[in-house]
Every structure is written in structure tokens, then in C-alpha cells.
Symmetry: C2
């Protein structure tokens, strides 16, 4: 077992002087080539920009194709967040055009009619990672990390050497400005210059990034992303100009903005010991009771008293004087006390009617259904799960629908191949977090797991083991939360928290049941139709036989046929 | 299509005053509740510690069970890196014990005989994220981000409120010190105090972290991680004390340290435009030719001249005076110039013999094989792929081995259920990056994809479609690189770069072929043995018949039997 075979030498490189490992292998354990002092000299800070430059696949910039889509996504997210916060109905223009002659570099421009950004903040927002207004607030927004758009700019600079161009007009009377921003990755700080421009706009922001990219159509394309964005954001007007100059317009289906979300305080049940210790240190409140009531949501005098009693802490004691052991007791007491769920004003689900409206706008189907679950909580964060289903390809799969007078004739699908597959294909699953489509990493996502774990056979669909069900169907799933737990900074998949999986399960079951009724009705219709066809086919023969036996004239034969048909149809309850 | 159905109200919470979204929906697009100024006030910096506190699942601290393993991994990685850099044969002691009465909190202690850490650096190394010596150096090491151990300490503080305890002695004559370190997450800076202690040790470091955790055995446990660590690091002595006080020792199988790795300069083919622009700005060299030769590896006067000619840049021009367009030409010229591969002294693969030694030490099998590919390059970074295979469960599956005198009798497996499965199970895949076992996210890893995409049926194994092959086998795969492209900060899976997938494919095929020869030989042996059994079974009857026909006496019968057996065995070439 003590095999001391020599290490194989893989490095016989002709022009390199070999340092023989065997020679250097120590006889005793005294440091030789390096020691603590020499090693200390190399210790240094790593800027977050340097980190993400080297690890840019973590942010969604791992391939030219994905980079283009990620940049569009980050810019559109910011535009929509800003518009909604300022209660402006969003008009967004996305333009992608070739940069130079090759098809390896592109310019992306995203322009909005939002509130604009004040001069002092523009360089930081676009030229600094981990900077923003959304990270520390407990309320739903698309962006949450303060990384995305600056990372897109950093990627552009890295691949083309060109700065980010930002135009901003922060209100009707504000002076429109144009900025040229380069991120200094060693410091994670912007280098910016600005100038006054003419801009015929009341207010708004535009961001322009030159970058290495690859433009494609079809699945996981900018095109598809924007279509999905339109499904989940029916209040948005989106205009997309592609590199060939083709313009696609997504017209809003409602003038109603999403409900305004309010910032909430942390809920006691979501707080960890370390956070509690920190909150106590930073609190202005002089008694434990006041601290509990003022710094958390859902703690009134009664609950505060109960917690203190359980923790054996005097409500009027100074929170800053508590030692760690006492705070630990306080934490234990909080966990054992029943406290009302956090206020739900911090999130704004889409709602069943608007989910259906959004689906109808972009996917033509026979049947639509939606479920919007009441918000609940994971780790103290409110979240709500919503599901929508569009089923059946009109004029294609469910031929039954235009048979006889049973169901109205549908006009067939229009250019919707992006979302609805064929009857033999797996259903299309479209995933959303805070109204943003999730395009990549489907298999790693809690949403996919929940859809696969749902037994769709119960609802009349085929489903291979461990896979999505089969059928002409789009499943829309949305999670709205103050803090969406993504599996990576690129925000492509949802982490599998138990509470989230459970809500997904219930929402999918609810929509599934409604779907099942429709599918079964469809199957019954199909089966009845088949039987009715038999009736239609055999009645003439039966009547012919009756005619011969009873010696009927033509009129009597016609009457007999009609009566027989009516009787048989009635008996089938059609 | 313009469905303006009202948004469903999910927030009818009795004790909340409802702000009616409909009322607030704007008639025109003027900002109402927020504008650019009010929004600007909330913009602020997010510290990297705050970011990772909220996103700690990105670092591998998403569940108590995983947290304990991640912390051990980060501490052991650091210990081994430090020992090897100081050319010390590592002796590592890992201890996990319960903290208090419950089984929800644990203390982890990892102690090494490394060079120690100088006083001024200890607080930064253990109390600051993105701080370290490895990120900026192009050479192989286990750690590369400067996040891991500080993140473990941050998690400990968050869940128990207790500081990290570090002991360090930086050399024989140094004074041993003990530190108490708490990370200030708002600033990403350490708060530390230290005191002189007695420590009967020449030099070394110990880190102790109290944390919420869950201790389990079996797959994806600390136990398994350390066993795997011993496989890929046969030069390490590891002692593990579990919470029940059981001690497991992994004794080193070689006294040879891994080859010492050297830092290299970046290779021109791996550099992107943005990096090139930055390197030019930061260079001390006054001519383009000198810049190319001094700041990159593998560029001599000839190559520099060739690049300059292709880029239409004078070799003696001042690099700082080049505009972006010219640098872009320079980049294009670099990409079109043939340049020798980067020096490989920066990485230290394990080598075929030591892979087999490591496997033999921890997995008992019938057959071992290994392949260590020559290092190559992705994105300018040298990397090498190595594969090892341990096949066949002695005394269990391949009964043929102890049948007759054909093969030596094996003594059967010893307590190795952690690594070797049964004959009907999928093979066990063990993945390593820079000698560190990768325990989680197997399915998302390039290594798994390459193993699944290899056609193991060619090598005599069963393999279900799209899955690992079946059999009593352990596949060891190692990537050694100056920069391992992990799919997340928690360093659990390798990103699927084409160059890496290709090297994996070739290495797996090479080991697979050697395995195939053995498996087929085994199958042939099995089949021959079966035939030989028939011979043994039928010869007496044949001889009996001959005896009757030829009227042989007993002696003649015995001779006939012997001759017949010899003839038949010879004809079968056994």
C-alpha cells in the first residue's frame, strides 16, 4: 500500500529547464522554497470586478450568443423597474445592430420612457458592480443584486474596448446628458465623461453597449425573450428592431400598471442569529420591546412581551447590553412564538386574469386557465406562485373543435411556433421570476422539478417517467418575491426551497385539475363524435331496411331518418 | 387581444390599508410616486459580504449538512496549498464535535503543519471575502478565489454568533498566536483580537469555526470527502475525528510532494481586447516589441516582429500611444500568429502511477488503469485531464478470479462501500479539480457529461442511454489547471468548455480501451472456464464409454482420462 512510485513527468518541454521534483522533495519538514513571510507579501485584495471578469460565466456572459441576450435582459429589467417605481406605463425600444462588417460584434440599445437617472448616479449605476438601490430593500423588483447592467458594460469593454454610452433625461425640465462610461476593473469604479445633448423626450434613459455577440433566432433568442417578457408584462409596449432592420411590436394588453409594492421590515421568523446580533447593534431603540416592535414587521406589544417572557429577558432592558447567549435565547423565543405572516404589500403577483390576458395575447390556444396562489413565506420572505396553462393548438390537434356545431371553429395558430410545440412534443414550460423570463438552465430549476413531479396523467396527458408531459400546451409559471433565491448570479434558475416546491405543487395541481376537466371533456367529445359518425353512417342502412320491411314511401323514409337521428342523439345527450 | 381585465387582488389582508392599484394607475406618463431624485437617494454600495450573506447558497452554505462539508473543504484546501507551497509534507487533523447538547451545532477544527500565517495577514485571510494570494497568479492551486474560508467563518458567525478562532505559528522561532475574528459584513473587513498562546508545534495553522450544521455519514459526507481527498493526494497524512470520537487515519502512500508549480505570464492567445488594453496601460515597457516579449509568455523577438508586421504597427512604437483601433489590429494579429503553447510548469498533474497508487490505497479492485493526458490550453490557460479506473469487486462479482488456478484469489473488499458500488449499480464517478474532490452537482459537470457521452459498450460494459455505465467500477477524473472554470463560486462542477470536453473524451477513451482488454479477457476467461467445466464434467463419461468399448483396465482408464484432458485443454489454449 505504501507505494512510492515516482510521479510521472509530463513536462518534458524541450526549452524549459526542469526543476526536478525529486530533488526538491524535503527530507524533513522545514520550509524551503516559501515561508510565511514570503507568502504574506502576495496577499492582496481582489476587486469584485476582477473576480467577475475572470468568472463572467457566473453572470451569464459565457458565450457570445448568451452575452447578447443577458445584456438585453439586464437593460430591459432596469427599464421596467424604473418605470414601475415612477408609476409610468413603460414604452421600451430594443435595437440590435451589427457593429462593423462581421457578424461577431453587435451594438445593443435599450431606450425607455422611465424617470431617468440623476447625473451623479449614472456612472455608478452603469460602471460599478454591487451598486444599486434594490439589494437592501425588501420589496419585489426585477433587479436585486446591483450587478447586471454594469457587468454587461464590463463585458462590452472587455470584448470591444468600447465604453458604455448612456443617455438620460431626469424629468421634463432636466437637461438631457450623454455619458461615456468605462469600468476600472482593478478598483471596481467608473471612469466617466458626460456632455449635454439634444434629446426629444420628456424623460427616460437609454443604454448602448457594443459587444462581441452572436445573433440567432428561435429558442433562447432575444426574440423569444422579448415575446415571453410581453406575456408576463401585458402592461408594456415593446418595440424590437433586429439586425436586419425588421421591427416587431408587442402592444400592451392593459393600461394597468402592476400594483405598487411597498418596502417591508424583516419578519422575525426569517432572521438568523448573526443578523439579529447585527440589528441589535445598529438599532436606535433603547428597550428590547421597542426594538422588536420597531425593527421588525408584525410585532406588536403583545408579541414583544411574549417573546421577552419566553426568552427570560426584561422588555425594558437595553438591547445593546445583551450578551450573545441572551440574544440566542431571544432568537429561540422568536422561533417558538406564533407571529402573523409578513405584510404582502411588498409583492405584486400578476393575477389570474392578467396571466390569461398575457397568454392570449401571445399564444393562440383552445383553452386557458390560471392559478394565482395566496402569498406565503420562505425564510421570512413573502413569495407567491402563479401558474397559467394554454392548451390545444386550434385547427391542428383538436380537430374535434371544428366538427359539427359542438365547438366554435378556431382560426388556427399565428406565427406562434416559438411558444407552442406539436401534439407529440413535450409541453413548453415558460418560467418567470418577478415577471422576468428565465431562459437558461431549465433542468436545474425548482420550477421544472415541480412540473416534472406533477402527475399529468391525472389530467389526461401523457407523461414519460421523469420528464415533462406531452402535448400541445404551454405551462406558464411565475414566482413573485422580495428575494428570489436564484441558483447563480446570472439569475437563470430557482433554488429548490421546500416551501417554494410545495407552493409550486399546489398551484400546478390546481391548474392541472381545471385542465383535466377540459381535456376529459375534449376526449368525451371526441369519443361521442366518433359514435355520432357511426350513427350517421349506419342510420341510412337501418332506415333502408325499415323501408323495405314496413314498405314506407320517400316522405315517410325521410321522417323516419330524422326521428331516428334525433332519438339517438338525445340518448347520447349531445 | 387588448384585454384590459383588472388585476386580481390577492392582498386583501384585513389589517392593512389597501393602496388601490387602480386609483394610482396613471392617466398620463408623468412620474407620480417616485422620480429620479427620490430614487437616486437610495442608490448605495453593496458589500461583497452582504451579497454573499444573502446569496450564501452560491458558496455552498445552503443547508446545514452541506455547510459543514464546505467549511471542512475550504480549510483543508488552504492547509494543503500552504504546505505544498512551503514544500512541507502535509499532516492534517480534522475534528468535528458537537457544540452544546443538540445535534444542530458543531465545532470544526482543521489543524495543519504548514508554514503558518504572519500576524498582519491572519485577520484578512479569515475575515474578508475576495482577499488572497492565489487569484492573480497563473499557477495551479486548490483555492483560487479568496472567498472560501472567510465565507465559512461568516456563516459560522451568522448561525451561532461566534467568532472564528485561528491559531498560527509562522516558523520555529515565531511566537504562537491565537486570534478571534469576526467579519463586519457591511464593510467586508475583519474585527480581530489576538493573544499569545502556548502551542507545542514547530509551525502550522489551525482554524476553528462554530456553526449550524448537520453531521451525516455515507455519500456526500465529510467522511467521504476526506477519503476522496486521500485518493487524489497520496502524499497527505489525514487524521479525522468524528463527533462520536471515532478516529480514522489516512496514511500517506508516498513521501513525494507534488511537483512544485511555477507562476507563468499570460499567453497571448488567451488574452481579450479589454485585457490587452489594460496590460498596455499598465506596462513599463516602452516599445510594442518589448511589451509583447516581456509581458507575455512564449513571445520572442521573432514572434513579436511577426505580430507587429501583421498588425501594421512599428515594433519600436510606444505601446501607450496606440489607439483602440490599433490595439484591436494587434489583437487580430496575435490571433493569426502561431505561438508556442504556454509553459506547463504552472500545473502539476498527479501522474498515472500516483493515480493508481491513490486508488489502490482506498479502493480494492481487480484491475487498475490510468491515463494522464499531456497538458493543453483553453482560453490561454494550461490544463491537463487525468483518468483512473478501478474495476471489479474482488471476491464478489468476478468469481472467475478465484476459480481454479487461473487468477490469484483476492482477499475481498474492506470497508470500501463508500466508493465501490455493486455489479448492478451505475459506476461510481469521482471528480477532482486541482486535487480537490467535487462532491456536489455531479449532473451539471462537464466531467459527468464526458463520461456519459463515452460509449462504454465498446469496452464491454452495459450502459443505459444517456446515463453512467453499469458495473463494479470507480472512475476517477481529475482536471489540473491554473484556472479551473467552475460553474459557481462553490466550486462544485466544471463548465463545459469544448477544449476540456475533448480532452476528457480522449482520456476516458484511452483508459476505456485498456479496461476493455481486461473486461474482454475476463469474459473470455469466464467463457473458457465454463467450457472447461463442461470438459471436466463430460470426460469421465466419455472415458467410461471408451473403457467399455476398448475393455481398459483401471490404470489405462486413468491414463486415458489424463491424456484426454490435456489434449482438450491444449486445444483451448488454457
Amino acid at each position: 500500500m505504501n507505494d512510492t512510485t515516482g510521479q510521472q513527468d509530463l513536462f518534458a518541454d524541450p526549452d524549459e529547464k526542469m526543476s526536478d521534483a525529486k530533488e526538491k522533495a524535503p527530507k524533513e519538514r522545514a520550509p524551503k522554497s516559501e515561508n510565511a513571510e514570503s507568502m504574506a507579501k502576495r496577499q492582496r485584495e481582489i476587486s469584485v470586478s476582477e473576480f467577475f471578469t475572470k468568472n463572467r460565466h457566473l453572470l451569464g456572459f459565457d458565450s457570445p450568443r448568451k452575452a447578447l441576450l443577458t445584456a438585453v435582459k439586464e437593460a430591459v429589467d432596469n427599464s421596467l423597474d424604473a418605470c414601475e417605481e415612477a408609476r409610468i406605463l413603460p414604452d421600451i425600444k430594443v435595437t440590435i445592430r451589427k457593429l462593423g462588417d462581421t457578424d461577431k460584434q453587435y451594438t445593443m440599445i435599450v431606450e425607455d420612457n422611465g424617470p431617468g437617472i440623476v447625473k451623479a448616479q449614472v456612472p455608478n449605476v452603469f460602471g460599478r458592480l454591487l451598486y444599486g438601490s434594490k439589494f437592501h430593500r425588501l420589496r419585489q423588483s426585477r433587479g436585486q443584486q446591483g450587478i447586471g447592467i454594469s457587468a454587461a458594460g464590463m463585458y462590452g469593454l472587455l470584448t470591444t474596448g468600447r465604453p458604455v454610452i448612456v443617455r438620460s433625461k431626469a424629468g421634463k425640465r432636466a437637461i438631457p446628458l450623454e455619458f461615456e462610461i468605462r469600468i476600472d476593473t482593478a478598483k471596481n469604479r467608473p471612469e466617466a465623461k458626460d456632455r449635454v445633448i439634444e434629446w426629444d423626450k420628456d424623460h427616460g434613459t437609454s443604454v448602448q453597449i457594443d459587444m462581441e455577440g452572436e445573433y440567432r433566432r428561435g429558442q433562447r433568442s432575444v426574440e423569444e425573450f422579448l415575446k415571453l417578457m410581453a406575456v408576463a408584462n401585458p402592461h408594456v409596449n415593446l418595440t424590437f428592431t433586429d439586425p436586419d432592420g425588421n421591427v416587431t411590436e408587442y402592444v400592451r394588453g392593459t393600461k394597468e400598471l402592476p400594483k405598487e409594492v411597498e418596502e417591508i421590515k424583516p419578519h422575525p421568523h426569517g432572521v438568523e442569529l448573526g443578523i439579529l446580533l447585527k440589528m441589535i447593534q445598529e438599532s436606535d431603540n433603547r428597550t428590547v420591546s421597542a426594538f422588536l416592535q420597531q425593527d421588525f414587521s408584525r410585532v406588536g406589544p403583545g408579541v414583544a412581551k411574549e417573546i421577552c417572557a419566553k426568552a427570560d429577558v426584561k422588555p425594558e432592558s437595553n438591547p445593546r447590553r445583551l450578551d450573545t447567549a441572551t440574544v440566542q435565547r431571544l432568537k429561540g423565543a422568536i422561533d417558538k412564538t406564533k407571529i402573523m405572516s409578513p405584510p404582502l404589500s411588498c409583492i405584486a403577483p400578476i393575477g389570474e386574469q392578467l396571466i390569461i390576458a398575457g397568454l392570449k395575447k401571445e399564444v393562440e390556444a383552445d383553452f386557458y386557465v390560471a392559478t394565482s396562489r395566496k402569498p406565503v413565506v420562505y425564510r421570512g420572505h413573502p413569495f407567491a406562485i402563479e401558474v397559467g396553462i394554454a392548451y390545444g393548438k386550434p385547427g391542428d390537434t383538436l380537430q374535434i373543435t371544428d366538427a359539427g356545431k359542438i365547438v366554435e371553429v378556431s382560426t388556427g395558430p399565428k406565427n406562434q411556433e416559438l411558444l407552442m410545440g406539436n401534439a407529440d412534443d413535450p409541453v413548453r414550460l415558460i418560467r418567470f421570476a418577478n415577471r422576468v423570463p428565465l431562459v437558461f438552465q431549465q433542468s436545474a430549476c425548482a420550477i421544472s422539478k415541480a412540473v416534472i413531479n406533477t402527475n399529468w396523467k391525472n389530467y389526461g396527458l401523457q407523461q414519460p417517467r421523469g420528464a415533462l408531459p406531452i402535448g400541445p400546451m404551454v405551462i406558464f409559471v411565475h414566482i413573485a418575491s422580495v428575494w428570489v433565491p436564484f441558483t447563480s448570479e446570472s439569475k437563470e434558475a430557482i433554488a429548490s426551497y421546500d416551501e417554494i416546491l410545495e407552493e409550486l405543487r399546489l398551484a400546478l395541481m390546481d391548474s392541472g385539475r381545471k385542465l383535466g376537466t377540459h381535456v376529459r371533456k375534449g376526449k368525451k367529445l371526441a369519443s361521442e363524435f366518433k359514435k355520432r359518425n357511426y350513427i350517421t353512417m349506419y342510420i341510412p342502412h337501418v332506415v333502408e331496411a325499415l323501408k323495405e320491411i314496413l314498405v314506407l314511401d320517400d316522405k315517410a323514409t325521410a321522417t323516419a331518418t330524422e326521428n331516428l337521428t334525433t332519438v339517438l342523439e338525445k340518448s347520447r345527450k349531445l
